[in-house]
Amino acid sequence: MSEAAVRLTDVRKSFGPTPIIMGVSLDIDRGQRHAIIGPNGAGKTTLFNLISGRLPVSSGRIELDGQSIEGLPAHRINRMGLSRSFQITSIFPRMTVFENIRCGLLWSMGYRYSFWHLLSRERSLNAAAERLLADVNLESRRYLPAGLLSYAEQRALEIGITIAGGARTILLDEPTAGMSRSEANHAVALIRRVTEGKTLVMVEHDMSVVFDLADVVTVLVYGQVIASGPPAEIRANRAVQDAYLGAAAH
């Protein structure tokens, strides 16, 4: 059908009388690294919540790989190949790092609600978990309860859980928020590596991360897209400079 991994058509969302997303139409192509930027309160996270099914849309259409997904529960959308991380780290704090990663794999490897497989005996499952653990550089932390990891490690773990299920489309909500410069650089390298060949959509405040990682940048202001295009074009866009980047872009 369409080339787009994610296609939004006139998506709207209001909380009570307050409109947050006011008619967003956007195509995110397969394999693209797409950053959504905008000032605080622009509705970036809300947009993510709509795409991933965490919130229902008020109106409009959302397609994932050509299939309509608005109104589906989050777990169904996830099974169709879309995975996300959260702005506030979302992991399983009382389970070990290894278990966290393994939980991310279970559904996609067909275990569903099985209560007859002993997971410790499932070789390919454990091997896949090991590989992911290595991918996110947390091998030395495997037995630690995830809640005891450092902040940056928890973010890395969440990226691991997010990509574990093999989703073709990955949504990352401010993956480097609250990190030091060097931690953020590590995170960017990690994201680049693990989303190779996938569609990546991310909300990000750190402009150096955005311009480093993104193929396309979309600028959201007050629930509307004011510009969308390659980073260089966005940097030069007058309206964007006025609304958002200000003098910082130069």
Binding site: N78, F92, M95, F98, F115, L118, L119, G165
Partner: protein
């Protein structure tokens, strides 16, 4: 912290072999050995009879351990607080009673040894029905629904006489003559070993269940149900399956109850029995798999032993619950596990002094409290029963002032010293932990 330490996945599980098997399952094997041998330590050789009291108490402990573990499948493992778990225990019991009666009357054949399975199926079927409703919700809404289900079934138990037998309950007879091993199951010691066998099976299955996809996702939904959705799982389905299986094991516990007492009444589905599951599980410790077993042993001990000594035993259970929730939310298991690192570092001896200093005023304060409670009890209930308050041969007059003063003095002085020593103990504990950390870094 204790809850985190207690998580089974927190410990590396490696290398098989007999040595590591006994090491890993040592406590379980020891518990099993004690369970098997204990009735014989109270055997009356002169009259060639088992102690009925001890066998009854051990049977009760065993079935309650299964009941509490099944409760913890919801509470500790899935983060679901239920106020109606006795429903599945009781309905498992009723099912068993009817099955026993049917086998006895020749309607169909089932070996006595497999009768508990019928109770399990009974519990499972009703857990599927009620769980379908309850597990649509989580947290407070879930708790309220289970409370409603508990009340509903208790009310039904008094209304539908054909199945529940009304207030008189359903009587049955476990001697149905279908044993595979030629046993009659008339002596309670035979039933005891049947109970132990089913307890071992149930405990093993529940332990293995924690290591499956469902068991892990139950933990995951407890920790963060939203994250669970974004790895493809429907949290309400996870809750539903976990709830249903928990009902199965509660039903087995109920079946063991029916086999032991040969009567099932509405008490077995009522709120007090549900509260029992909660008390045992919480006091034992929700964070560790074996916690509820410890809780079951302690609560049954209080129920059957302390209740012989005192009319006010429920006061002590209530107080114990409050103290545990306040000071040791990880339960008995949590307290034990906290000592793990100190034990491994061989520094437990360092705490001996502080322990004596904190336990002595603790014991005195408890003694003072018990004295006051018993004085109250003898002034009211005891007097009505015409009993007199005797303590190691000395009769105490609850009408005189002296025992009340002694009780109050013990409680107040003991309490104050305990409060001061408690802080000292905490400092000693932290010092030892610091030492271990420093040694670990060096």
């Amino acid at each position: 912290m204790s809850e985190i330490l207690a998580h089974p996945g927190a410990r590396p599980v490696e290398a098989a072999g007999v040595a590591s098997l006994t090491k890993r399952h040592g406590p379980w094997l020891l518990a099993l050995a004690v369970t098997l041998v204990l009735p014989w330590l109270f055997y009356d050789w002169s009259r060639a009879r088992h102690s009925g009291f001890v066998v009854a108490m051990l049977s009760q402990m065993s079935m309650m351990a299964v009941f509490a573990l099944s409760y913890n499948m919801q509470m500790g493992q899935a983060g679901l607080l239920s106020f109606g778990h006795a429903v599945f225990f009781g309905l498992g019991g009723y099912t068993t009673a009817h099955v026993l009666n049917a086998v006895k009357s020749g309607s169909f054949w089932l070996p006595t040894e497999l009768v508990p399975l019928a109770g399990g199926v009974g519990g499972l079927v009703f857990a599927i029905i009620f769980g379908y409703v309850a597990t649509k919700q989580r947290a407070t809404a879930f708790a309220m629904i289970t409370l409603g289900i508990g009340e509903l079934v208790t009310a039904c138990a008094l209304m539908f006489k054909t199945f529940f037998g009304g207030e008189g309950g359903v009587s049955t007879n476990r001697v149905i003559g279908t044993s595979l091993f030629g046993l009659t199951y008339s002596p309670s010691i035979q039933v005891y070993y049947l109970i132990v066998a089913w307890t071992v099976i149930s405990v093993a299955l529940m332990l293995l269940l924690t290591r499956t996809a469902l068991g892990r996702m139950a933990n995951a939904c407890r920790d963060n149900f939203e994250r669970a959705q974004f790895v493809g799982y429907d949290p309400s389905m996870v809750r539903f399956f976990q709830f249903s299986l928990s009902g199965f094991f509660a039903g087995i516990a109920g079946a063991l109850y029916a086999l032991t007492y040969e009567i099932v009444t509405f008490d077995s589905v009522a709120g007090a029995m549900s509260a029992n599951a909660l008390l045992m599980t919480y006091i034992g410790g929700v964070g560790a798999f074996a916690g509820p077993v410890l809780g079951a042993v302690l609560i049954v001990l209080l129920q059957s032993w302390v209740s012989l000594l005192s009319n006010s035993w429920l006061v002590y259970v209530g107080l114990l619950f409050i103290v545990m929730v306040t000071f040791a939310p990880g339960g008995i298991a949590g307290i034990l596990l906290m000592h793990g690192p100190i034990w491994r570092a061989r520094r437990l001896g360092r705490l001996a002094g502080p322990y004596v200093r904190v336990l002595t005023p603790g014991v005195l304060a408890v003694a003072g409290f018990v004295l006051l409670v018993e004085l109250c009890s003898f002034l009211t209930i005891g007097a009505a029963q015409g009993k007199s308050f005797k303590l190691s041969g000395i009769t105490i007059d609850p009408q005189s002032l002296k025992p009340w003063l002694i009780g109050a003095l013990l409680l107040v002085v003991g309490g104050l010293v305990l409060w001061r020593e408690g802080r000292h103990f905490r400092r000693s504990w932290e010092a030892v932990m610091e030492e271990i950390k420093a040694a670990g870094r060096a």
